[in-house]
Amino acid sequence: MHIRRQCKSVEARRETLKLKSMPSFTPVRTIEAKLAELSFEEVSSATVVSDGRFWHKRIFENASETITVSDEVGNVIYMKDPVITILGNSETIERIRKIA
């Protein structure tokens, strides 16, 4: 009964998740530290090519939320701007936005 109620609450939280994507000028390490603080764990990673650029895409998850961090790889002369895409609740989005 308790487990079913817990599952329901996770499902309910998933229904209300919001979408947000933002470029960040914060180093990836700072973002990683923040994600660890918010109890997100890395679940998958891959090398992605988009806009003619190579990105190291990593996916972080907690119980119901998903955050993707794409960091450009290679020798670039301009400032890197990792792209953070969040499928999470407003509180998480706000917390990430503060450091990004």
């Binding site: 998740l17 979408l19 891959a46 992605v48 895409k57 790889v73 290679g74 020798n75 895409t85």
Partner: protein
């Protein structure tokens, strides 16, 4: 019909604005596996090339890549001898080894305008020592059943090839998108 290309940030933000205005939207996703030589070892950044360092060597990005030792490419079913050119930095057509990838394309249409975001996800190399037979042409220097490095290409995880979207977004898988 205008067709707008977006990067990840643009695409997600456009989609978010539509969702916030309570408009129902259908997102189409196409996923096609390619191995057309688009990603040769010479052009990939050091970060990616490090995964191949056991079997391949190059001086820097965009320089010719040679086989560091004999190995068998299990994906393309091809045997490579030591010092064989795997990818030429100068002659772009000379590609003996290329990385397969998934081409992923997300699209949604609103008010007859189409917005798209596409990206390629590279397969991950898996290199291990295996005992296997060597093809006829390579038998001069190497004995029959030998312990040899074998290169496998592992498809990326499903989570890496999809965008995380809210449940309210309907995602339809399609084979191909025709641009009019």
């Amino acid at each position: 019909m205008p067709f707008y290309e977006c990067n990840e940030n643009h695409f997600i933000e456009n989609l978010r604005r539509i969702l916030e205005s309570h408009v129902k939207v259908v997102v189409n996703r196409s996923l096609i596996q390619h191995d057309d030589g688009k990603y040769g070892l010479s052009f990939i950044p050091d970060f990616e090339f490090k995964k191949y360092e056991t079997i391949a060597e190059r001086r820097r990005t965009r320089s010719t890549v040679y086989a560091a030792k004999p190995f068998y490419d299990n994906y393309h079913r091809r045997f490579h001898m030591e010092e064989e050119v795997l990818h030429s930095g100068k002659y772009h057509n000379l590609k003996n080894l290329s990385i397969p990838y998934y081409k992923v394309e997300y699209t949604f249409s609103i008010w007859k305008d189409t917005y798209t975001h596409s990206f390629d996800v590279l397969f991950t190399p898996g290199i291990k020592l295996e005992k296997r037979g060597v093809p006829q042409h390579a038998k001069d220097n190497i004995a029959n059943d030998v312990l040899i490095h074998t290169l496998n290409f592992l498809p990326p995880d499903e989570k890496s090839i999809k965008l995380s979207l809210p449940k309210s977004v309907l995602v339809f898988d399609v084979k191909r998108m025709t641009r009019v």
